[in-house]
Amino acid sequence: MNPTILEMRKITKTFPGVMALSDVTFSVRQGEIHGLVGENGAGKSTLMKVLSGVYPHGSYSGDIVLDGAVQEFRGIADSEKVGIAIIYQELALVPDLSVYENILLGNEIKRGITIDWNATIKKATEMLKKVRLDLNPATKIRELSVGKRQLIEIAKALSRDVKLLILDEPTAALNEDDCENLLEIIKGLRDSGVTCVLISHKLKEVIKIADTVTVLRDGKTICTLDAHKGEVAEGVIIKHMVGREIDNIYPRRTSAVSDEIVLEAKNWQAYSPNEGRNILKGIDFKLRKGEIVGFAGLMGSGRTELAKSIFGNPDGYAITGELFVNGKKRRFANPKEAIAAGIAYATEDRKGNGLILIQDVKQNITLANISSLAQRGVVDKNAEIKVANEYKTALSIKTPSIAQLVVNLSGGNQQKVSVAKWLFVKPDILILDEPTRGIDVGAKYEIYTIMNRLVEQGMSIIMISSELPEVLGMSDRVYVIASGKMVGELPVAEATQEKIMSLATNY
């Protein structure tokens, strides 16, 4: 057995109000491929940020031991110096520079004060060979596919004599061939002595190439499995990943779902010109009146993109397929049309594109339907205050006054403001994207109660959520989305965390 190259001992990292990592132990042996798996929010990214120095020494407790020496990284530069390289999902290449310039970026080969371009090109060509890329090093990154860019990133890391290469979801944006190729290359790197940590949601890949697998859940190390002892199997991993107790109690609702279909998509596809790929690959689903449908899946599976593509397509995807609202075929050119048709979409990123933080509670609540409070374009401010106060009471938004700026509210109350804003447009269909992300248990319960009240009144809700207990606790039906495809539909009675996770990771 190879010696241990990296050991992270008792790492604890807290953010205000949240313990992101608690006593995590993670050890990697020389020359292995080590899979790191866990649900969204299990702590994988935080752990890797601690390792790479993004969270500097002192901001966490515990020790990082590399090659037997305790490391105290103050920044990414320090971890790079000792041979740790991380390749993130969002690639960090400069699109308008050439391949060779990118590979040696920040690590330029100099002769005096000038760059030695000949040596640079020679070195870049060698690195390209290591990742089995046969292309002209003068090619601009912009002209390359995502799969090739991924390999350039690896070549870049190799040019720095990397000892420990960490790949964060390297295959998430790749097609099948590119995935295969990448996995082969990772194996090749291992055989040439580079230790790799592979973070992936795709369990099949992990099982295929990993020598060891560590499972994280809720900021804790659950177990480390050894492939060579036959411990690594999909069922085992999933069991450890989702083993979370269902600690929230979900309020019951009594209403029955009607048979009336209010929203239906058929073979719904979307191509993103910005990313240059198909993000939705033929999705079918139905939503009935008075129903809560859960959209489960992992981050990046296309759920938010699906919601946005329906809701007036603000990101400008090229869409094909059919959408029916109350039985009528529709296609919305912008969010305004979707709102007019009775659809509301509360975004996943409250602060980013949901609320206007520098405005007050009342202005945020009335924003999407301010016209209804105006006569000849002049806002009736008294009516506005009345409306805002009604929603403040109805959703028990905790704020000293509706004149308070939203930026000063807690996450849970911001979420309620966001929900209030969309309730005020009086929609028939409400899409809630991660409605309880980052809010405390009490506020969650209140949001669930509000959702129940709404469907009892005949509203239909699509709930996009990465929290499986919540999906199971709140939904009437569950759809599982993976890699832009609808991979499963389960009535809630038949759905379990294991089943959903197995569908979501099996693509």
């Binding site: 809701f311 603000p314 912008n334 969010p335 305004k336 979707a338 709102i339 007019a340 979409y345 975004t347 980013g352 594109n353 949901g354 609320l355 206007i356 933080l357 520098i358 405005q359 202005q363 924003l367 999407a368 301010i370 016209s371 105006a374 374009g377 002049v378 806002v379 401010k381 008294n382 205050i385 106060n389 006054s401 004149a403 930026v407 000063n408 804003k421 447009v425």
Partner: protein
């Protein structure tokens, strides 16, 4: 209690108050240094007329900056539009009202053309409006090529920038030497201001919103009355209200109303505060961008008319650097480059601060080199003050 009240008030409104305090402070310094010449009726009247055409641009610029853009092209556009007005009257024999109407319409069209590459094609406002800067500069030179400076002999037109409102009782029997209509308007303004403040306070109280304590409220009312009274008195001592000031007041009232009371105003602030959230709330960011640049064009037309009227002519260099004066005024007036924050009234005060500096230093005979340096320093100070206080504001 009182002390904490005042402190809280200061903290929450520090930016607005600081601007007024700075204005009074600067005016005080000039008054002392010029032995009172600065605050003479004649000079104040003159200062307001000078401020007029920049203030009009600053109002439009504030809206543009609120939606996270800005507009370099307005300076030479206003010069160009002023020249068009002159040519229309002198060369084509247009009556003055038609020439003004033409220029305002052309201004709106120019604004919409500027908006096109920005809103539709996503081209940065700096580049798009810099192109406009060059184009309108060329256009101005082109239309004044043969004639050079065009003298405008139209009485009505020239009165806009130089004339004053007529008096109701042009007699010295009552309050001799004062402009009576101006005094009356000042009185109406003060009463209207107080009435509105009282109604507003009562409404807020009815909704349990925080209001000023009664003592502080009275102090504020007295202060505002004194300010309005003083300005009225000073102006009435010369020729009374000028048409420029009347136009400016109308523009401020209309724009302040739009920004604070209407759906359109809400949408403009929403687009500035978070364009993505606004779009997802059913607001067309493109439409708002076109509207705001269209309004900027309209106000540029107004500015062109005011300036040409003031000079009673159109020159080959009309409007030079107006865009930068307007941008500086808007920033001194508290508009935030991050978007979504900025008041029309702030733009006016900003323009006043800026023009006061120019006027005062001219009176003192300060060298132009030093004038630029001081104006730059004031602009930098205002923005630095903004950034540091807006951090502290997150109470």
């Amino acid at each position: 209690m009182k002390g904490t009240d005042i402190r809280k008030l200061m903290r929450q409104n520090i930016r607005d108050y600081a601007m007024y305090i700075a204005l009074v402070f600067i005016m005080g310094i000039f008054a002392v240094m010029t032995q009172g010449v600065f605050i003479s009726s004649r000079n104040i009247s003159n200062l307001l007329n000078q401020t007029g055409y920049i203030a009009v641009l600053a109002v439009g610029m504030t809206l543009v900056i609120v939606i996270r853009h800005f507009d370099m092209s307005v300076g030479f556009l206003s010069g160009f539009l002023g020249a068009i007005a002159a040519i229309a009257m002198v060369g084509w024999g247009f009556p003055s009202w038609l020439a003004i109407l033409l220029v305002l319409v052309l201004g709106i069209i120019a604004g919409l053309i500027t908006a096109f590459p920005i809103a539709r094609l996503g081209i940065p406002a700096f580049v798009a409006t810099l192109a406009g800067w060059l184009i309108y500069r060329g256009a101005l030179l082109l239309v004044t090529l043969r004639t050079g400076t065009i003298i405008i002999p139209d009485k009505f037109f020239d009165a806009i920038g130089n004339g004053y409102i007529p008096d109701i009782l042009p007699t010295d029997a009552l309050i001799p030497g004062m402009h009576k209509l101006t005094l009356l308007l000042g009185l109406i303004a003060a009463v209207w201001f107080i009435a509105r403040a009282v109604i507003d306070r009562r409404n807020k109280k009815a909704y349990d919103f925080e209001v000023l304590s009664m003592d502080l409220f009275v102090v504020k009312m007295v202060f505002m009355t004194v300010v309005i009274g003083a300005i009225t008195w000073v102006l009435a001592g010369y020729n009374g209200l000028s048409w420029t000031v009347v136009i400016l007041i109308v523009i401020v009232l209309v724009y302040d109303f739009i920004m604070n009371q209407t759906v359109l105003g809400r949408r403009i602030y929403a687009v500035g505060g978070n364009p993505e959230a606004a779009e997802l709330s059913g607001i067309s960011v493109k439409k708002i961008t076109f509207l705001v640049f269209g309004s900027m064009g309209l106000l540029t037309g107004v500015c062109g008319v005011l300036f040409a009227s003031r000079l009673q002519s159109a020159t080959t260099t009309g409007g030079t650097l107006f865009e930068l004066d307007a941008i500086a005024s808007a920033y001194i007036g508290g508009v935030s480059a991050a978007g979504g924050v900025g008041k029309v009234t702030g733009a006016i005060i900003g323009a006043l601060v800026y023009m006061t500096l120019m006027n005062g230093m001219n009176l003192l005979g300060t060298d132009i080199s030093l004038q630029y340096i001081i104006r730059g320093a004031v602009l930098a100070a205002a923005v630095i003050f903004d950034v540091t206080t807006s951090k502290a504001k997150r109470y």
